[in-house]
Symmetry: C2
Subunit: 326 residues, 2 copies
């Protein structure tokens, strides 16, 4: 079995998108369910998902263990794994880590661009690394089996998370900064350390993370993947599209601004282009993963390596990451 | 296997009590984790339990399915099943039923003495039965596999819950009113309807529910059980001690008053005896279930019937009650 797994999406979910997942043969997706929401607000998002699971049982179900990837494949559905892009959902309460895990949260970013109670975001001037609470929360995440995701964190915080975590961590959606300089993309040193520690990088198709933005070519993207696999090890890379399909621009403003400022923050955009950028022509949604697989093949990857990047590596990572530490 | 199961306790939990459960051979207990608490406050109670599960893994673990009763027996531990004595924990949000189920809640009372959003409590002057929301919540509890518990509800509300629920309901802790008249004890008509519908009654040892109060004799209690088994059917009765071991009197005040009044409500007590009444001499805690079993035998019950009352019936009820409706 060669599963097809996307390491991050945050779409404006609908039956249409769930059907596209099936058309594209997507076995599992890590979906963002919350950014700046409080615990109670996050539970409201879980309630929305519960209604979708109830409404579309033939298309999707909630993923909790790596075995659910095979179950999804066997039953022709997509397993949905929950994640948070900020620790707002756990508020200031370490006990909520286990509660959120029980509710299905399998990934939590320690920061979203800004300083959090746990670590420094990649947009802060000074990255002071893991906080006192951050070290305790990483240990608690390790204990229950929730993946530390440092996609939006600063370099020092990320290196300290790799060092402090007793289980491999992930950067679910980012690309190498050497390919496209951006605060959200990652240095070679960091990616090497991530690979050596057994962690995972998911390559992002979000245009602000791409060389040339929306005009980035498939081949340029896939050549970058091949080079990064050489740097990190072929077993430590996957896809994490950051697909935000059908979202209105108000959503990217919520992501960037939340309730932390009274001003507008454009994040990776700017005043003249404040909204979601158009996706590259070769990846508009869940039916287009085949284009990436073909591109990787054209970049010289073996069939086995393509399969590893398209899902096999995430499957193995899910398997060792979810569930109580032994 | 003849499991020993208590249908309700709300102790001031401690290692001491968990050890007494083991000494008493208690395989499973339905524990109250919340009364008037909001959802977020209920989650704080779940966090307390998570810490106890983490701290005392050799004594207790969280029960989620009936199979956990056998697991408890096989591993020499007590399975703890969560319940709520009021629907405050689900606030005004039907989506919280499934969320609370996922967090382990297996019983929820539709009322605690007073009118709730769902039904009428047994202390209200007028019992108007299930509300519009109450009917929807019963259906949702049926869907996910959470037991409707009517211990503190009015007669009409309870009869309507029996009628409306597609799965058997429970009165986890009460006694027949014909034996000891009390607003919390139940009429013969109601108990007969409960038995005929496949539901369960757990006999309470809380002195305010006992004939003669704290002075009630073991034999009087056990004779009452034998007569009630004749009325309801031997398969529909169990124990639900309502043990509140080691609780300070401030806790019984919270149970009775919550935040719904600025006055003092004495519930089943009175101004001269506002606190917890002393337990009868033959049942002070989890090491004393053997006294009840002996009393049932002395009341003329067969060994098989005693085993059914002491846990076998609850085990079968848990098995058909927990988990998604099929």
């Amino acid at each position: 079995m060669n599963p097809l797994i996307d390491g991050l999406q945050y779409a404006n979910w609908s039956e249409n998108i769930f059907r596209q997942m099936r058309e594209g043969g997507v076995d599992a997706v890590h979906v963002t369910i919350t950014y700046h929401e409080t615990f109670r607000e996050t539970v409201l998002q879980i309630e929305r998902w519960n209604r979708w699971f109830e409404q579309f049982p033939d298309l999707i179900f909630q993923g909790r263990t790596a075995a659910d990837i095979a179950l999804a494949r066997d039953t022709g559905r997509t397993a949905i794994f929950f994640g948070s892009q900020n620790p707002s959902c756990m508020e200031d309460d370490i006990g909520l880590v286990e509660v959120l895990y029980t509710l299905g949260l399998r990934f939590m970013q320690l920061t979203y661009n800004n300083q959090s109670l746990l670590a420094s975001g990649c947009y802060e001037d000074d990255d002071t690394g893991l906080t006192r609470m951050g070290r305790g929360v990483v240990a608690e995440m390790n204990r229950v089996g929730m993946v530390v995701d440092m996609s939006h964190s600063g370099e020092r915080s990320t290196l300290e998370a790799i060092e402090h975590s007793t289980r491999p961590i992930a950067i679910t959606h980012a690309n190498p900064a050497s390919w496209h300089p951006a605060l959200r993309n990652k240095s070679g040193d960091l990616l090497r350390a991530l690979g050596e520690s057994g962690g995972m990088l998911g390559f992002s198709v979000y245009p602000h993370h791409l060389k040339g933005g929306s005009a980035c070519t498939l081949q340029d993207f896939c050549d970058m993947i091949a080079r990064t696999a050489d740097l990190m090890g072929i077993g430590h890379v996957g896809i994490g599209t950051d697909l935000c399909q059908d979202q209105p621009d108000s959503v990217v403003e919520w992501m960037r601004v939340g309730r932390w400022t009274k001003s507008i923050d454009y994040g990776e955009g700017n005043a003249s282009a404040p909204g979601f950028p158009p996706m590259p022509g070769w990846f508009g949604g869940n039916r287009d993963f085949g284009n990436i697989a073909s591109g990787l093949k054209a970049a010289g990857m073996s069939d086995a390596d393509v399969a590893a990047v398209m899902g096999g590596n995430w499957q193995r990572f899910f398997d060792k990451s979810f569930g109580a530490a032994t």
